[in-house]
Assembly symmetry: C2
């Protein structure tokens, strides 16, 4: 084994060799090979000495960076001493300074949108920056800290990306003191820090970081916001793949002190679903949750863009309705300035009024839907996000059905294209098979669906609505037979659908209605609606719905209504099933069920 | 009182008189007077008999048009006799035929997305089609009908566009019979019709139609949905420019008979705002409303696209909250499975939890906001659409302020570019001056704003919040001085803002907060938020907010929070003020105020 001195000499020589190679115009591959050798030497140096190699010339300036460090200590409440008042005074002063500096920067029209620091996102860092040893500012959370000898390693996290930050006392030009290293390694997990440092190529890949090829050599570190030392859950624990570790107890006391601890080796308790939801703001920081909700945001955007490009108009229908809802139970009621009111269970009437009666022809809405249903299942929420659409049809409700099929294929395609990193991150925690779907979308009649079930030995009755278990079974059968997890089933029994559903012209027991399924679970319910007021009244009577309770609804169809069809999509269900997740609470940021209404 | 027979005779005579007057070239006013007399007679007829007057000749043509009329009658419930069962059977049969034809068309892979008819939108028609005399199918509403001699003129409306359709008995190759002409001219206003005809160049411009250079020569006409003959309001009346005509009474009885009447010459009562909202599905058909809500839809889309392109994630925060809202009054309360709950007055906490604490950094939401405020003003609603955003900031809350300014300029620019026709249509009914705005957005401090008011003689106090009248005045002053209707004012008194507002580091009486104005009215309220839990507690105490009521809020900031800022935009206000409208009910499809919760 080489001594430290020998390694330093070898590294210095190799550095000179590289410079020579570059100036003499050696080809890139040759230079790359030399850099590889240099990195290997540096890595060996670190092995031998326990410290990172820092070139002698890198001894930095004292004054400025020292001042910054003081700043950081003041900012990071937890670490620094001093009474609250002193801290507050310091903070105010610091803020004032910052603001003045900023205004000055503005006044002199400095670049970068008024920021004097060139902040980078962790995800933007890359090998090229490492190669040119670029100096950057980062703002990120401390995922873990680890102190080794005179050094501190911090794993910094921002969104889906992580990077290793390194401080070593006395080495290099960073002017880092022993105290600074101690201070850094004592920063509580989940604190927000500002770091200024140099991006360098990592001597060996950093397995624990998504940015495995680089690391940041810290020159300054400031705590922007200190997290309390004992957190109710750790992101690390909440990120653990399903099945790994045991379901923890009450959850509330997972320790969160990173100090002195071997990061990554820590195996804490498994976080219960309930704890995760109680402290959702922490739980949302896991890579899987960052990904799930970015994808959910993407689904909404794709839904709207697809429709807007086809002439659909977005509406915002009222959620506060006078009296009782569209003849439904399961409705939340409230007092509206002394009158009874309730929360909309769907934008049904308003979609119809605007599209079929109001002249907009094609409308959509993305908004909350309220269901006071006292059922605690994996797929019900008392408040969820409805993606609703309604459109006039010219000759057949298949016009709407086709649009639904194409809309979903469009969404699935784009999510797979644009969210590869997010899908991978989710798969790490919740392994799933990518959704199988085909185009055009497979379409079965309800009768055909029942036939498939009967052939498979199920006691399926085509005259009745499909029980949940049979839906699931049908999903499996269809997947096996047609190779798709996504299909449409239409022509449901009339009696199984709401009163405003258009009866089937061929069979009075059926209706022009459809459901759409992903992995054997319903994500859309839709239909052609009755636009003829006489038929509507007849159907309402059949259902024993008091006509007075739907007065406006009926009126709207007395004043001329176009034939129309539409449906409602449950956003959380779509995301859950697309990702093969097992519980709808995983795709609702702040789920509401009969037992949960907080946070 | 005249007998039924007498009235029939009088009506017949009057009809002949009108026809004579028209063929002899009497002036318009004379004809109008006669039509008025005819209508009075018909109205009397209805009073006496309890039925609507139907001319004897209107007992259907024989072959095709007879079938068609029955068809129409069956569809349009109100006019035709015949038992419900018979009608239903016919309808089912018709639907079955249509569906079969459609499926056949599908099977043979016909063009046009499965439709056997090449439907065109009225807005798509053009001179080129007229020149080549293209045959088209249209589905549109009957705006007015007018019969002249052997012909009938129908003004058809679809969205913003209108076109004149013409039927002449015995003329051309269309095979139109006298009865068909009569049938067509008897179609009630606002009925939905299918028309097949040939587009031709209009011999003289059709002043009443937006498609003034062409007309459609009808070959077939079907009533798809018949509107009842007497509508609670006419689109024509509801479209009348402000100030024209008198504010009508209760509104409910504007006659809607086009038959035999001089279309366009009819001057009905002015529709009251209340009637318009009671029958909003009709009122939405006016060109101004079609335009207002298309623009509103555009504003939402532009808002989201701008933010999504900048890495913002869309969230859907819960509207059902346990306990009371963020320490506010004016909240709607409800029972949630036996526990007290309320409706969210803003997504404030959730935006902060996700952006600053949950790792998403930049979030936005478009959703309903509920305020149980008992104020009936031109700019308050109890339910409105909030366009909310929250973002982490690196060094200064001006980062958020700049984004807001650029976001709005982006929206204004695109609306002006993309919605020229809609802006013109709105201007027809509600004349307005286009919004003046500049870039970068004018920014005043609150102190500067107060100074401007004081200089203009107002008793403005920089230590207090700005009263509404002074806001208005300031808008006028700024417009005069800086030439803009759009500006930002920041550094409001701390005491005038919510407890979570970041105090100004330079002046403890001020805050890092801002409002944004259009034409002297506030459309955005925003600020940097406190991210330090100690300061947050201090501010909550100052406001005497019980800490227990904001437990989750405080917790979220104990677990590490990034500095952040954001704001909430009232969608309906933005659209109202951009368009210079006087009442927010004009930009809410189904407005909710203390006195209205229906339809």
């Amino acid at each position: 084994m080489a001594s430290k001195e020998e390694l330093v000499a070898a590294i210095t020589d190799k550095g000179a060799e590289i410079r020579n190679a570059k100036t003499s115009g050696a080809d890139k591959d040759a230079v790359k090979a030399l850099v590889g050798e240099l990195l290997a030497l540096k890595s060996k140096y670190q092995e031998v000495t326990g410290e990172e190699y820092v070139a002698p010339g890198e001894q930095g300036s004292k004054d400025k960076s020292k001042a910054k460090k003081k700043d950081a200590a003041a900012g990071g409440a937890a670490a620094a001493g001093g009474g609250a008042d002193e801290r507050k005074a310091k903070k105010a002063e610091r803020m004032a300074q910052k603001e003045q500096a900023n205004q000055k920067a503005k006044a002199s029209k400095s670049a970068g949108g008024g920021s004097e620091r060139a902040y980078h996102a962790v995800i933007e860092l890359g090998e090229a920056m490492g190669r040119r040893e670029q100096r950057v500012w980062l703002r990120a959370r401390v995922h873990t800290t680890r102190s080794v000898g005179k050094g501190a390693f911090l794993l910094l996290r921002q969104g889906l990306a992580t990077v290793q930050a390194i401080l070593f006392a006395g080495k290099g030009g960073a002017g880092i003191t022993k105290d600074a290293v101690k201070y850094a390694s004592g920063i509580s997990r989940e604190s927000v820090v500002d770091i200024c440092g140099t991006v360098k190529l990592a001597p060996v890949p950093v397995e624990s970081a998504t940015q495995s090829l680089i690391e940041v050599h810290v020159e300054e570190i400031h705590v922007v916001s200190a997290a309390m030392a004992r957190l109710p859950l750790l992101v690390e624990d909440a990120s653990r793949p399903e099945g790994e570790g045991e379901e923890g107890g009450a959850g509330g006391d997972a320790a969160a002190e990173g100090e002195g601890e071997e990061g990554g080796a820590h195996v804490g308790p498994r976080v219960t679903a309930s704890t995760a939801l109680d402290y959702r703001w922490i739980d949302l920081r896991t890579p899987a949750n960052q990904s799930i909700f970015r994808i959910q945001s993407g689904v909404c955007q794709l839904f709207r863009d697809y429709l807007a490009a086809r002439g659909f108009v977005e509406i915002h229908s009222p959620k506060l309705l006078g009296g009782a809802s569209e003849g439904g139970s399961n409705v939340f009621t409230l007092d509206y300035f002394g009158s009874p009111a309730c929360l909309a269970q769907s934008p049904q009437l308003y979609k119809q009024m605007t599209a079929a009666c109001g002249g907009f022809e094609k409308v959509f809405e993305v908004g909350p839907v309220f269901r006071a249903e006292n059922s605690n299942t994996h797929r019900h929420l008392c408040e969820f996000t409805g993606l609703d659409l309604e459109m006039t049809i010219k000759e057949h409700y298949y016009e709407a059905l086709e649009l639904f099929g194409e809309l979903f294929v469009h969404i699935f395609d784009r999510i797979n294209e644009r969210y590869a990193a997010e899908l991978a991150a989710i798969g790490q925690q919740y392994p799933f098979e990518p959704l199988k779907y085909c185009r055009p979308t497979l379409r079965l009649s309800y009768y055909e669906g029942m036939k498939l079930l009967q052939d498979a030995g199920y006691d399926a009755n085509p005259a009745e609505d499909l029980p949940t278990e049979q839906e699931k079974a049908l999903g499996r059968i269809v997947r096996e037979k047609f190779g798709t997890d996504f299909f449409i089933m239409d022509k449901y029994p009339l009696a199984a659908r709401p009163f405003y559903t258009m009866p089937c012209p061929h069979d009075p027991n059926l209706s022009n209605s459809f459901d759409i399924f992903i992995r054997g679970e319903e994500i859309v319910s839709g239909a052609q609606r009755v636009h003829d007021v006489d038929l509507l009244i007849e159907r309402a009577k059949w259902w024993q719905i008091p006509l007075a309770s739907i007065g406006s609804y009926l009126d709207a169809f007395r004043h001329g209504a176009e034939p129309h069809a539409g449906g409602g999509i449950g956003l959380e269900r779509v995301v859950m099933l697309f990702l093969g997740l097992k519980n709808i609470r995983k795709t609702s940021m702040f789920p509401r069920d009969p037992k949960r209404i907080a946070p």
